[in-house]
Structures are given as structure tokens and as C-alpha cells.
Symmetry: C2
Subunit: 244 residues, 2 copies
């Protein structure tokens, strides 16, 4: 009965309910208004995400989600010939995969509000340190992701949103506006710190606030306790909740 | 398709997706395994919660939740003749209301795993300070809740769980085992700090881990990215996700 907002993406979405995560913050903001469902899949690129669509968003769902964030690209942008090349998806295919995801979701529900989020910037020094801390001398000597390449994917994502008239968040640009973004927003050169999560949260809320999904304007599912008459509680519930 | 675990309760549940909240921590633990749905209603007592049952748990739901936490009592235990008396529910009625909630949920799904949680202890000094900070000299001079009375409600809750063979968490007792629980676990004498939330999270996980809802043993909804063959991704998805 409560509207659903789906967060569809890779590890940065999957981890969004950790301490200070943007998913948990959204769930709090939409408390008593909408359910925030985490459909984040660590390591996934857009090519693999396509396989999930029918499973996650069945075409015959009686009440499809009212909105979805689509947040891929960090893995697609992994470089060929480096340690994460398994996850690489060519730039053009990335854009086409995003387009297919959007087309599919619009088919499943034409009114579904879609919000594209670009991959965050990459801090190559931070990635390298992280790899050293994990694998010591066996760590890769060459970066598996670069900020420049991540930026190309971000550009495609924003361009596609523009072509299709959808809102987007250019996280790659946004984060780099702040001095020291490398350590302030990224924990291992790629994933988000609490402050990085806060940026995503703020940007998502900013977009949703301009739509019918503005949390403050959405109705609560049942009466606020202050509306309940202690002597005659039935009254407040009559319309929304047939009593047991 | 993903199993649902519902958190049904008052403000301590409603606020459980705030920073460090026990609901968000559960959502992270059950990431890719189960959805954690927040059905917390600030200010509600068990009497008012009864009105929500048909609304929140329709009897004809095709896939009812697999589990629910039932976490009421903090408002029921508000004292008569004091500032929160509107919310007061007599001790015997509290127990009977909990029983009705359980009977209803078991009727909606006989296999639903139910976990009762008692109200937390009350720090009367903390409540008073909080009231002073909110209302200044107009603050109540007499406590609207006492720890002793909260303890009586906790006892009824645990007793009922025992009668019905259900698991329960005696949060009232558990928190008081730690020296300085008043400030360590409670932010305003009643609601939970991050450390207080951590206690609830740990205790809920401890109970669920002894059941079929042990997160580590539950299957993920779709393949882990490491199981996907970059050259032949279809293979990993064949069983779970018919490709688009």
C-alpha cells in the first residue's frame, strides 16, 4: 500500500544502508510515506544489470515502484587489461545499456520517476593504497580505474538523461567541486564515506522535492498520533484503516 | 520476491533508520536477502496499533512478511494523571492487545516469525531534562513515565511471549545491565542513542540467527558478481533471472 522507491545500482547502492548511508537516510526521510527498497548489487555493471530487470521489476506487478534511482558506471568504467577488466563495459555499450534499463522500467510503469546518477570520481592514489592494504606487494601496479575514464562514463550518463528528458545527478562533477574530495567523500578511492553518502542523499532529495515525491508533501499512511482522540480513537482510523 | 521483515512499533521503531539506527543496520545485514520494512508509528500505543493491523497486514496478501518485530509499550506505560496520559493503556489491556496483535499476525500467516521486544528502561532525570529543554518552566514537574512502571509492562510482554512460545527481548532488563545505561543508551530518557540502537540490533540478530532467518545462511536473490562469467554471463542468470 505504501509507494515503493527502488534504489537500483552497484555496490555504492548495496552499501547505502551502512552507517550514514544515503539509502538509510532516504528511508528515514520517507518514513511513513514510502518504502525505500535496496536493489544494489556489488560488482555489477550495466551489462549484468540487464539480466536482473525481469526478476526485479516484473512487467505484471500490480503496484510497480513509483520511482527508481539508476546508479551504475563505477564498474563499467573499470579499465581493460587491468585487474578489474572482467567488469569493463565499453562506453557506448554503457550508454545503450542504461537506455535499455530506462526503456524497460518505463514499459513496466510509464509513470515511474527515474533518476540517473553518474559514477563518483575516482581517486587513483586512494585506490592504490586500498589495493596495497588488501594485497600487499601483489597489489596491481597500474590503476584499474582512472578518474578521467570515470568522467567519460559520467558524461554519457548525463547526456542520456538529457536526451530522454530525465533528471540526473552528476556525482562525478559535484564531488570534485569540493577541495579534498578524494578523502572527504571516498573511503578507498571509489566507495563513499559518510560525507560522500550525504552528498548523494542531498542530491537525490533535491531532485525528488521537485516532483510529486516531495516527502514533506506526501500524505502519511495512517493518522499521526496527535490526531487520535484518546476517548474515541475509532474516529481517526475510520477512513484509512477498517478496525479489527 | 524478496522476503519481507516488518518492524512494527512506536517511535523507537519509526526512528530506527536514523543515523546508527537498528532498522538501517538490519537492512544492511539482510542486504540482497530480505527487505526490512519500517512500520513504526511515533506516539502509538497497543490500543491504537490494533486499528492498523488490517491496513498493514491484509489477510489476503499473496506473500505476507516472513517475520515481524512487535515493539510497543513505551507509550502504553505513560502514567495516568500526567502530561502523556492520552497514551496510557492499562497494564492488563497492554498484554491483551499484544496478544491480539500476535493472534492476528499468526492468522495472516501461520509461519510468520514473531519477535516481541519490551519497552526500554526510562531515565526519569533524562526525561525531565528533555522536557525542560523543550518547554522551559512549563515543563511537567512530575514524570510522565517512570522506570518502575515501564518495567511492569516489560514483564507482561516477556510473560506473554513465554505463554505463547515466542522469542522476546527484554530490553528493559538488558540495558540496565550496563553501568551508565541512562545516558549511554537513551538520548532523552526514553529514545535510543546510537549505542542504544546497537543493543536492539544485536539482540534482534541474535534471535533471528537461531531461526531460518539467519542472514548468513539465507540465499542471495541473484548471483554474486564473482559467479558471473564475463564471457558468458547468461549462464549465471539462467535459473534465477530469465534474460530480457
Amino acid at each position: 500500500m505504501r509507494p515503493e522507491i527502488v534504489l537500483f545500482g552497484d555496490s555504492i547502492t548495496e552499501q547505502s544502508f551502512r552507517l550514514g548511508g544515503w539509502g538509510a537516510a532516504l528511508a528515514d526521510t520517507y518514513s511513513r510515506k514510502a518504502d525505500i527498497l535496496n536493489r544494489g548489487y556489488g560488482g555489477y555493471n550495466t551489462r549484468w544489470a540487464l539480466f536482473l530487470l525481469h526478476h526485479l521489476f516484473p512487467l505484471d506487478a500490480p503496484t510497480p515502484p513509483v520511482a527508481a534511482t539508476i546508479f551504475f558506471g563505477a564498474n563499467d568504467a573499470a579499465l581493460l587489461g587491468r585487474t578489474s577488466e572482467r567488469q569493463h563495459v565499453p562506453l557506448e555499450e554503457y550508454k545503450e545499456n542504461l537506455r535499455r534499463i530506462i526503456q524497460y522500467l518505463k514499459k513496466s510503469s510509464p509513470s515511474m520517476l527515474l533518476l540517473l546518477i553518474t559514477p563518483p570520481p575516482v581517486d587513483e592514489a586512494g585506490r592504490f593504497e586500498h589495493a596495497r592494504s588488501m594485497y600487499g606487494d601483489k597489489a596491481m601496479q597500474l590503476p584499474e580505474r582512472t578518474n578521467e575514464v570515470a568522467g567519460e562514463y559520467a558524461k554519457q550518463c548525463v547526456e542520456l538523461a538529457g536526451e530522454l528528458g530525465l533528471p540526473s545527478i552528476n556525482l562525478w562533477s559535484k564531488m570534485q567541486e569540493t577541495e579534498g574530495w578524494q578523502r572527504k567523500f571516498l573511503s578507498d578511492g571509489l566507495h563513499l564515506t559518510q560525507e560522500g553518502n550525504a552528498i548523494v542523499y542531498q542530491e537525490v532529495v533535491k531532485v525528488f522535492n521537485e516532483t510529486r515525491l516531495c516527502a514533506q508533501k506526501m500524505p502519511s499512511d495512517v493518522p499521526h498520533h496527535s490526531e487520535i482522540d484518546g476517548q474515541n480513537p475509532e474516529k481517526a482510523f475510520k477512513l484509512q484503516c477498517p478496525a479489527i
